[in-house]
C-alpha cells in the first residue's frame, strides 16, 4: 500500500469524527465507493442477468463497509449503476426511515452526493429490503433488491454444485414436491415470503424475502428489477415487462395475504399492513408498511 493511500484512510476517519457536512461526494473515495473496474465487472454481471432473466450470475462481490446481511449486494448493484443525475430512494420493510435504510442512504449521499427522495415516483433508483413499493413503478425506474439467499432451492438442497445442476436441467420436481407436501399437511401452501417464482417460463427464482403479497407486482413490471446478493456473490435480474409467475397448482391457485382491517393512519384497504403492538393487554393496530404510500394517501384524504 502507498503511504498516500494510508493517509487518505486516516483522514477519512478524522472527518468521520468531526462529522462535518461536505459538499460533493467524499473526495477520498471513488464516486459511489467502488472503483471503476469493479463497477464494470458488476455491470457485466447485471447485463448477463438481464439477458438470462432469473439466472443467478456469479460475480466477484466486494467487501463493503457495511456487514454482509445489511444489503451489501444491493449496495454494490446500486453503486455500479448510479450516476450523478440519479435520484435515489432507499427503503427497508417498506419504510424510508428504518435505521438500515437511513444508513444506506447516508452512505450514497456521502460517496455520490446524489439527490435522494422518499417519494416513490421521483426516484430513478429504488433500493429495497423486503418490500416492493405499493405504487406502480415506471419504465424510467430501477428497483434494486437486497438478497440474503438467492438460491430458491437452498433449503431443499444445501449444495451449490447440486442446485446449479438442477437449474441447468430445469429439474424443479423437488420444489413442486415441497409445495405439494405443504398442501397435503396444511391444506395450503405454507410459504408467506420469499415465495418462489418462475421467470420468463424458465428459471425458478427467489424474489428475496418480500412477502408473497408483493409477488404479483413483479409480473410484467415496467421497471427493471435487479437483485444483488453480496455474501453469496450472485446477481440476477428481471427485465421490464417480463412474465413472473408464482408457483402454484391448478386446484390450489396462488393467493396473497389479506387483512380484515384497513390502515389506521390512512385508511387504505389494499396495502400490506404491519401489525403494531400498542400495549401489553393485547392491543394492536394495523398500519401501512409502505410509509411513503401511507403519507400520500393521508395527504390526499385531507
Amino acid at each position: 500500500m502507498t503511504q498516500a493511500a494510508q493517509n487518505a484512510g486516516m483522514q477519512v476517519d478524522q472527518s468521520d469524527v468531526t462529522g462535518e457536512a461536505k459538499a460533493g461526494p467524499d473526495p477520498h473515495y471513488n464516486f459511489a465507493y467502488l472503483d471503476e473496474q469493479t463497477k464494470r465487472m458488476i455491470r457485466r454481471a447485471i447485463l448477463k442477468g438481464v439477458a438470462i432473466p432469473g439466472y443467478q450470475v456469479p460475480f466477484a462481490s466486494r467487501e463493503m463497509p457495511m456487514p454482509y446481511g445489511w444489503g451489501t449486494g444491493g449496495v454494490q448493484v446500486t453503486a455500479s449503476i448510479i450516476g450523478p443525475d440519479d435520484v435515489l430512494k432507499v427503503i427497508d420493510q417498506g419504510a424510508d426511515d428504518t435505521t438500515n435504510a437511513v444508513s444506506i442512504r447516508q452512505f450514497f449521499v456521502r460517496t455520490t452526493d446524489v439527490e435522494t427522495t422518499t417519494h416513490t415516483e421521483e426516484a430513478s433508483i429504488i433500493q429495497t429490503r423486503h418490500r416492493i413499493p405499493e405504487q406502480n413503478l415506471s419504465e424510467d425506474q430501477i428497483l434494486v433488491y437486497q438478497v440474503p439467499i438467492p438460491e430458491p432451492l437452498r433449503f431443499l438442497e444445501p449444495r451449490e454444485s447440486e442446485t446449479r445442476k438442477m437449474h441447468a436441467l430445469g429439474e424443479y420436481g423437488l420444489m413442486h414436491v415441497k409445495l405439494y407436501e405443504d398442501i397435503a399437511t396444511h391444506g395450503h401452501i405454507a410459504t408467506t415470503y420469499a415465495y418462489p417464482v418462475k421467470v420468463n417460463g424458465h428459471y425458478i427464482m427467489d424474489p428475496s424475502p418480500t412477502p408473497k403479497f408483493d409477488n404479483p407486482k413483479m409480473h410484467r413490471m415496467p421497471a427493471l428489477q435487479l437483485f444483488g446478493a453480496g455474501r453469496e456473490k450472485r446477481i440476477y435480474a428481471i427485465p421490464p415487462h417480463t412474465a413472473v409467475y408464482s408457483l402454484d397448482f391448478e386446484d390450489h391457485p396462488f393467493e396473497v395475504q389479506q387483512w380484515e382491517q384497513s390502515c389506521e393512519i390512512c385508511g387504505a384497504g389494499d396495502t400490506f399492513l404491519d401489525e403494531v403492538v400498542t400495549d401489553d393487554q393485547g392491543g394492536r393496530m394495523f398500519v401501512c408498511s409502505d410509509s411513503d404510500h401511507c403519507n400520500r394517501h393521508q395527504e390526499a384524504a385531507e
Binding site: N30, Y33, W70, Q93, N100, Q106, H130, Y193, P209, E275
Partner: protein, 380 residues
C-alpha cells in the same frame, strides 16, 4: 402510541456518539495509542492482518483501537478498507526456505539441520497470572533481561541453512510431491473471482488463510477426534521474515519491495496408499501473516482433511466437506449474516403471524370437531 422504528436518522447519530464515548472510556485514563497496540498487543494485530488479508501493522492496530478490541470487527474494518486499494499485480512466490528464522520447531525429528529454535513461545510457560504486569508502572524494569546485545548474539548462533523439514522427507520420496500447476502464472483470488466448486488448492488455501481462527480450530480438532482422521504430525512450524519480490512490468526483473513476517506450518500425515499411489506421507499446509501459530496448525489439518476426496478417502467428517468448510469459514460473512437477524424483519414476521393464526384456527376447529365426535360416541 405508534412510534416503532421511525426517526431512524436521529437515532443513528446519537448511537454513534455513544459508541465513540464508550470506545474512549474514562477520560481520566490515558488514551491507548495505535503504536502501543502494535507493540504490546502484537498477536491481536497479527490475527487482524491475517484474517483481514492485508499486511499493514499500523492499519491493523488502528482497526483494533476503533473496534474497541473486537477483533472480528477490526478484521471487518480492514477488509472494507482493502476493497478500495488498487492492485498492481502478484509478487513472486515468497520462499519460506530462505526465511530469517525466529522460531522453528519440528515434532517429527529430534534434531534437524539448523537445529530446533524455540523462539518466543507460550508453549512452556506456566499459565500463572503474573501480577507484576498489573502494576501500571515499573514492570519494564523487572522485565526479563534479553538486551539487544544478547539478541544479536543469539542471531549469530543461528545457522544460515535451515532447510524445510518436509523437503528432507521429499528427497526420499516419502512424502507426496507438490508441484506448481503448469499455468502457475495466474494464482487464483477469491476476492476477485467468486468460488466455484470444486475449487483448486490455491483458492482453498486462500480461503483457509482468511478463515476464522476459531472455526478452523474446531474443525481441525474434530479431525483429531475421529471426524475425518488423518494421523497428523507437525513436520515443521517456522516463524520469521521473508523478502517479497515483485517484477514491475516496465523493469522486467525482480526488485525487493519489502519484508513480511510469516508463520508456516507443514503437517505430515499418514496415507495408506491407493491404486494409483504407493503408501507415503501426505501434506497439510498452513500460512499466516505475523505470528498465528494456532491458526496455521489448524489450517494445515483442515487443508489435509480437504484433500480427502482427491486421495480417494471416504468423506465422512465436516472438515472433509469442501463446500461446508469453505462456505462457512469467513467470519465477516458469518458474523454479517448471523447478526443481520438484528435488522427489522417485521414484514416477513407479519406474514408468518398471519399464517400461524390461520393454521391455529384450523387446528382449533378440527379439535372442536373431534371433541364433538367423542361426545357423540360417549352418548352412544
Amino acid at each position: 402510541m405508534y412510534v416503532a422504528v421511525k426517526g431512524g436518522e436521529a437515532a443513528i447519530n446519537e448511537a454513534h456518539k455513544l459508541l465513540a464515548e464508550e470506545r474512549r472510556g474514562d477520560k481520566a485514563v490515558p488514551e491507548l495509542s495505535t503504536t502501543q497496540i502494535d507493540e504490546q498487543l502484537s498477536l491481536a494485530v497479527d490475527r487482524v492482518m491475517t484474517e483481514g488479508s492485508l499486511f499493514d501493522r499500523k492499519l491493523a492496530a488502528l482497526a483494533i483501537k476503533q473496534a474497541r478490541g473486537d477483533l472480528i470487527e477490526a478484521i471487518f474494518l480492514i477488509r472494507a478498507y482493502r476493497t478500495t486499494l488498487p492492485r498492481f499485480g502478484s509478487s513472486i512466490p515468497v520462499d519460506t526456505a530462505e526465511m530469517g528464522i525466529r522460531r522453528r520447531i519440528s515434532a517429527t525429528f529430534k534434531d534437524i539441520p539448523g537445529g530446533q529454535i524455540l523462539g518466543p513461545t507460550f508453549d512452556y510457560t506456566h499459565r500463572l497470572l503474573d501480577f507484576k504486569l498489573a502494576a501500571e508502572e515499573g514492570s519494564d524494569s523487572e522485565a526479563p533481561h534479553v538486551g539487544n546485545a544478547d539478541l544479536s548474539a543469539t542471531d549469530a548462533l543461528l545457522d544460515d541453512a535451515m532447510p524445510r523439514v518436509v523437503d528432507l522427507l521429499g528427497h526420499e520420496g516419502l512424502i507426496e510431491e507438490e508441484r506448481p500447476a503448469e499455468d502457475d502464472a495466474e494464482v487464483g483470488d477469491l476476492t476477485r473471482e467468486p468460488m466455484s466448486f470444486p475449487v483448486d488448492r490455491d483458492i482453498r488455501l486462500q480461503n483457509l488463510a482468511r478463515g476464522d481462527e476459531g472455526f478452523l480450530l474446531a474443525l481441525g480438532y474434530s479431525t483429531q477426534r475421529g471426524y475425518g482422521r488423518s494421523h497428523p504430525f507437525a513436520g515443521e512450524i517456522r516463524l520469521g521474515e521473508v523478502a517479497v519480490e515483485f517484477i514491475p512490468e516496465d523493469l522486467g526483473f525482480p526488485i525487493e519491495i519489502g519484508e513480511l513476517t510469516l508463520t508456516e506450518c507443514q503437517m505430515v500425515n499418514q496415507f495408506k496408499g491407493s491404486a494409483e499411489a504407493p503408501p507415503q506421507f501426505t501434506r497439510g499446509y498452513g500460512l499466516s501473516f505475523g505470528h498465528c501459530e494456532r491458526k496455521v496448525i489448524a489450517m494445515a489439518l483442515v487443508d489435509r482433511a480437504l484433500k480427502g476426496r482427491a486421495l480417494g478417502e471416504a468423506v465422512e467428517g465436516p472438515a472433509q466437506d469442501e463446500e461446508f468448510v469453505m462456505e462457512h469459514s469467513d467470519n465477516i460473512q458469518a458474523t454479517g449474516f448471523v447478526e443481520h437477524l438484528k435488522l427489522p424483519h417485521y414484514v416477513d414476521f407479519q406474514s408468518e403471524l398471519e399464517l400461524v393464526r390461520k393454521m391455529r384456527r384450523k387446528a382449533t376447529d378440527m379439535s372442536a370437531e373431534s371433541a364433538d365426535d367423542e361426545i357423540v360416541e360417549a352418548a352412544e
